[in-house]
């Protein structure tokens, strides 16, 4: 059964594992022991649930997209509104969980990596809320492109450390965060932002994010008295997608993960890891990734900073092989169209990441019957993207 992974070695089928320097192994063992303890601890789970509710505002609603549905004239579209979380995306669910765990483990500091800054803001937020010191590693290029999020993190009291190595973007920030962690494992907790990294991170992040799917499953059933015919989510590292899909894996619902096709999967500029990548090791995990023939990791491209990651959570590689989830890709342009459409039909400006899922859902809805249903994970709000949109759309929304 799909829900039995990972195994004790942290493998989802052949994927996952712990491909890390010996210096990190102790920290992973410690984390695993803490997880085993606290994920079975009523008091910890209660705190986690309470903070999700009272700090982040969960449960997030399930919104029926009435006008969008009418316009497409096909399957009914429901949106799981992760954009309504505090700080604007599903990222906080996981950040709350890990930060509470770090506290329980007696750590005083957290370190995190960030690309566009969404996970960095989430990490800085929980650090402030729970009284932890926070360092966020961020590529120099990203720091320049995301000045607003950099300021938010600083305002929240975090230190943003510029990363000058490699391509100066997310993957290098991740390397640098791991390096820092290795040097400071005793008092520092590494707060990873997606279902990636060495075991037990992919499992832990999934278990903190499954609240998305758990809520959605109940809400959907209350509305429709059945399970959705299709569930769609975007895939960067894959945390919102796994969080959404996981509780449905034993149901009949089709699940579709949507990667970023950037300027097209036939160009070098995309981030379609499962569609175009090959097996390898990245950031401690055996999984699909974008690399050249020799095994050097490649810079991905997507208009959405959150999907711009050369690897993917190992559980997705597993779900692809097992065919339980289908993976497709959506281009920048298709995502922008979907973003505009949802804004104008429903008054919700989605994150560009989430717009990839929407674009795929809209395509499918048109081909489906009116009694069928699609559940889309709206992973975040688009406010963070307005700058990018202004540049891309030339200052004029249409």
């Amino acid at each position: 059964m799909a829900t039995q992974v990972p195994d004790r070695r942290g493998r989802f089928g052949r994927y996952g594992g712990k491909f890390v320097p010996e210096t990190v192994m102790h920290a992973l063992e410690e984390l695993e022991a803490a997880l085993n303890k606290f994920m079975a601890d009523e008091a910890f789970l209660h705190d986690f649930q309470e903070e999700l509710r009272e700090f982040s505002g969960r449960p997030t609603p399930l919104t029926f997209a009435k006008k969008m549905t009418e316009r497409l004239n096909g399957a009914k579209i429901y949106l799981k509104r992760e954009d309504l979380n505090h700080t604007g995306a599903h990222k906080l669910n996981n950040a709350i969980g890990q930060a509470l765990l770090a506290k329980r483990m007696g750590k005083e500091k957290i370190v995190a990596e960030t690309g566009a800054g969404q996970h960095g803001v989430a990490a800085a937020t929980v650090a402030a809320r729970y009284g932890l010191e926070c360092k966020v590693f961020m590529g120099e290029e990203d720091i320049e492109r995301q000045a607003l999020n950099v300021f938010r993190m600083k305002l929240l009291g975090a230190e943003v450390v510029p990363v000058k190595s490699g391509s100066k973007t997310l993957k290098d920030a991740t390397n640098e965060a791991i390096r820092y962690w290795v040097s400071n494992v005793e008092d520092t907790f590494y707060l990873i932002g997606s279902v990636v990294g060495p075991h037990p991170y992919p499992k832990m992040v999934r278990d903190f994010q499954r609240v998305i799917g758990d809520e959605a499953r109940e809400q959907f059933f209350n509305r429709e008295n059945k399970m959705p015919d299709c569930i769609v989510a975007c895939v960067g590292g894959g945390s919102n997608a796994i969080g959404t899909f996981y509780p449905f894996l034993d149901d009949e619902s089709a699940c579709v993960g949507v990667e970023a096709a950037g300027k097209g999967i036939d160009t070098p500029q995309h981030a379609a890891t499962l569609t175009k990548g090959s097996l390898g090791v990245i950031h401690g995990s055996l999984t699909y990734l974008l690399q050249d023939e020799a095994g050097q990791i490649q810079e991905p491209y997507s208009i959405s900073a959150g999907l711009d990651y050369p690897g993917i959570g190992p559980e997705h590689s597993y779900l692809k092989d097992s065919k339980r989830v289908e993976y497709v890709s959506i281009t920048d342009d298709e995502a922008l169209d979907a973003l505009t459409l949802l804004s104008q039909e429903e008054g919700i400006i989605p994150a560009i990441e989430s717009a990839h899922a929407l674009a795929e859902a809209f395509k499918r809805a048109k081909e489906m019957n009116k009694h069928e249903t699609i559940l889309v994970c709206l992973s975040g709000r688009g406010d963070k993207d307005v700058h990018t949109l202004m540049k891309t759309m030339g200052g004029e929304a249409h």
Binding site: V20, L279, H283, A294, G295
Partner: protein, 274 residues
């Protein structure tokens, strides 16, 4: 393993330099390996440049960047070992490579190449003991050393297991963190080394931060050798221009050799005095 037998086993004054393949070019790496042998090296650790070297500090990261500009690959690096042999390199060479490069080359092909090019061992910094079972079996079959690492945080139980299965030599990480120069070692390193030596089935060498003769002096009673990476690579970086120019290369290599010799002087002093 026969080169390990001859140049490594039973010794307690091992000098194991780490150099980056192709930094700043293949020829320089080949000549440097031979020079280091002449200056007392017992093993050459040949680093393969990688885009995402997460166990390494900035000095080695930059060396990798320089080397990648020359399109250095795992395959080209293994092939250059043969050229080192042709230039007179006799000591063991171990390939230091991140796991992804090995995966992409293919393990079978790797072993074929290693055999053909007279490689003696392999070290995969992001392949911890638990994940190394398969590779370990293959190495054993092929007679290659799979170099394992232990760190101060390695639990007693794992330490026992890893050290007990060590082949070639056991790489002892001096302190937490990534590769790079450290000015001092924490006192606890000695207790750690004592424990490691107790369990180890192979000579114990200390790496991560060794950069001064004083450190070698301080460590020499507690372990069987030192691994020197960033300190050497810094010299390569500062001689980059000279190493690129065939006319000045030899002199630059000698100067790097001088540094290596000075660093490991405590071993020779001992040799002389005994």
């Amino acid at each position: 393993m026969k080169r390990f037998k001859k140049y490594v086993e039973g010794r307690n004054d091992l000098f194991i330099p780490f150099i980056m393949s192709g930094d700043p070019n293949e020829q320089a790496t080949i000549e440097l390996a031979v020079e280091l042998q002449d200056r007392g090296a017992n093993v050459i650790e040949l680093g393969i440049p990688y885009s995402d070297p997460l166990a390494d500090g900035p000095v080695i990261q930059e060396a990798a960047s320089r080397s990648l500009k020359n399109n250095t690959t795992l395959e080209s690096s293994i092939k250059s070992v043969k050229k080192m042999r042709e230039k007179g390199l006799k000591i063991p060479v171990i390939i230091f490579t991140y796991y992804n490069l090995l995966l992409q080359l293919g393990e079978d092909y790797f072993f074929a190449l290693a055999r053909e090019n007279e490689v003696d061992g392999i070290l995969v910094p992001d392949l911890p003991y638990e994940e190394g079972e398969h590779l370990r079996a293959l190495c054993e079959k092929e007679g290659l050393a799979l170099i394992s690492l232990v760190a101060p945080t390695t639990s007693e139980e794992r330490l026992q297991q890893i050290a007990g299965n060590a082949s070639g030599f056991l790489y002892c990480v001096s302190s937490l963190g990534v590769t790079g120069v450290r000015s001092e070692f924490h006192a606890s390193v000695f207790a750690f080394l004592e424990k490691v030596k107790k369990y180890s089935s192979a000579p114990v060498a200390v790496g991560f931060g060794v950069s001064k003769a004083e450190q070698v002096e301080a460590l020499k009673e507690s372990c069987d050798g030192v691994i020197v990476g960033s300190a050497l690579i810094k010299r390569v970086a500062s001689h980059e221009a000279d190493l690129q120019d065939p006319k000045t290369r030899e002199k630059a290599i000698k100067q790097i050799g001088d540094f290596a010799a000075a660093l490991t002087a405590p071993y020779r002093t001992e040799k002389l005095s005994t």
